[in-house]
Symmetry: C2
Subunit: 212 residues, 2 copies
Amino acid sequence: MATPLEPTKRAYQSTEQRQSATIEAVVHLCAEQDPSTLTTARIANEVGLSQGALFKHFPNKNSLWKSVAGWVSEQLTQRVFSVADQHKHADQALEAMFLAHIGFIARHPGIPRLMLGELQKPGNGPAKRIVRETLTNYRQKVISLLNLGIEQQRVTPTIDADAAAVLYLGAIQGLVVQGMVGGDIRSLEKIAPRIFRIFSACFQEAPDAPQA
Amino acid sequence: MATPLEPTKRAYQSTEQRQSATIEAVVHLCAEQDPSTLTTARIANEVGLSQGALFKHFPNKNSLWKSVAGWVSEQLTQRVFSVADQHKHADQALEAMFLAHIGFIARHPGIPRLMLGELQKPGNGPAKRIVRETLTNYRQKVISLLNLGIEQQRVTPTIDADAAAVLYLGAIQGLVVQGMVGGDIRSLEKIAPRIFRIFSACFQEAPDAPQA
DNA sequence: TGAAAGAAAGTAATCAATCGCTTTATTTTG
DNA sequence: CAAAATAAAGCGATTGATTACTTTCTTTCA
C-alpha cells in the first residue's frame, strides 16, 4: 500500500486573519475582473476556502463590499494625506499627493474599478457612502491646500478653488481612465508628472494678469 | 358572464422601430440603475414587450450592448464634433466641445454609467472596443485642436498637447464623477463653465515664460 | 395566407446563502 | 496537567431565487 498520504491538515485561521485576507483577495482580483462579476466562489477560491466557509467570516456579500470599501478608503487617505503633510509648501504638497495617489493605484490596479463600480450603484449603500465620503474628504483637502497656497503666495489669489479641486481630481481620473483604455494601469506613473505639470499652470500666475 | 374584455389589440411594430426604442430604453434606464444589473426583463418591460419578445429583435444580450455602445458613440461624436466645427478659433472650439459634451450627458445621465461600465470589463468585447475607439478619437480631436490653436497663436506653443488632452478629458470625467457623488448629474451644466475656465489656464500663456 | 411580431411558459445555468456534519482550537474542570 | 467540554473554523452538498435564452403557440398585417 502507498504512503498513507497524510490527511492534509487544515490550516485553521482566525476570523480576523480570514477577513483581511479576503479583502486583499478582492482588491487583487479586481485588477483583472469587473467587481460586479466577482462571485463568492471565486473569492473563496483565491483565499483558499470553500465558498460556504466565506460566510463564517462575513454575514453576507454586502458586508464584504463594505469592508473592502473601508480598507481602500483608509489606505488611500492615510498614504495620500501623510505625504502631503511632509511638505510645507502647498504646491509641493499637491504634487506629492498627486504622485502618491497615482503610485498607490499603480500598485493596486483594482482600486479604480472598485471605486467606480461603487459609484455606479444608485442609492446610498454603505459601501457607496464610504467612497463618497472619501472623495469629498479628499476634495476638501485639496481646497484647503489651495487656500494655504494663496497665503504662501504660491497660488494665484484669484483662483476658483472649488473648480480647481474638481479639476485636480479629474486629472487623476482622466489619467486612470486613460490607463483603462490603454489597458496598462501600471504605466501611469510615467506620465503622471506630465499631467500634474500641465495642471499646475491652473494655480500659478494668471495669464491675463501679467505681473505689474 | 362578464364582458368578454376585448383582447387588447397588440400594436405590432417593425424590428427597426423596436431596436431603436430598446436602445433608448437602455440609455434611459441607466440613468438610475447600474448597467450590470439591468435584466432583459426590465428592459423589455420598459419598451412594453414581453421578455422573450426582445430576442426577436436582438440575437442576444451582448449584441444589444454593442448596439447601445454604437448609438452612444455616434451621438456623442456627431454632436460634439459638429459644434467644434462651428468655431474657427481653436480655443473657442474646445470650449464649445466641452460644454456640448456636458450638456449631452446632462440630458442623458445614464451615459457615464454606460461608458464606465464598459471600460470596467477586462478584455476586448465589441462594446468596449467601441467605447475605447470613441475616447481615442476624441482625444485625437483635442490634440489636433490644440495644435491648430498653436498655429493661430491662441495656445501656448510650449504646451504638452498629449498631456493637455488627457487633462481635458479628465476635466469632463472629474465633473461627471463629481455629479455621481453628489447624485445630481443634471446640475453639471451650471458648474461646467467654471471648470473649463480654470482648465483654459493650461493652454494659455505659460506663467514662467513672460511674454518677451 | 404566410411571414413577422408577440405572449407565455419552459430550460439550463449561475449564484448567494444555508445546513448538517467534521475537524481544529480553546477553555473548563477533576 | 490531562481529559472532557465548548466554541470556532471548515467542507461539501443543497436550496431557492434569478436570469439569459428557447420553444410553442397565437395574433397581426401586408
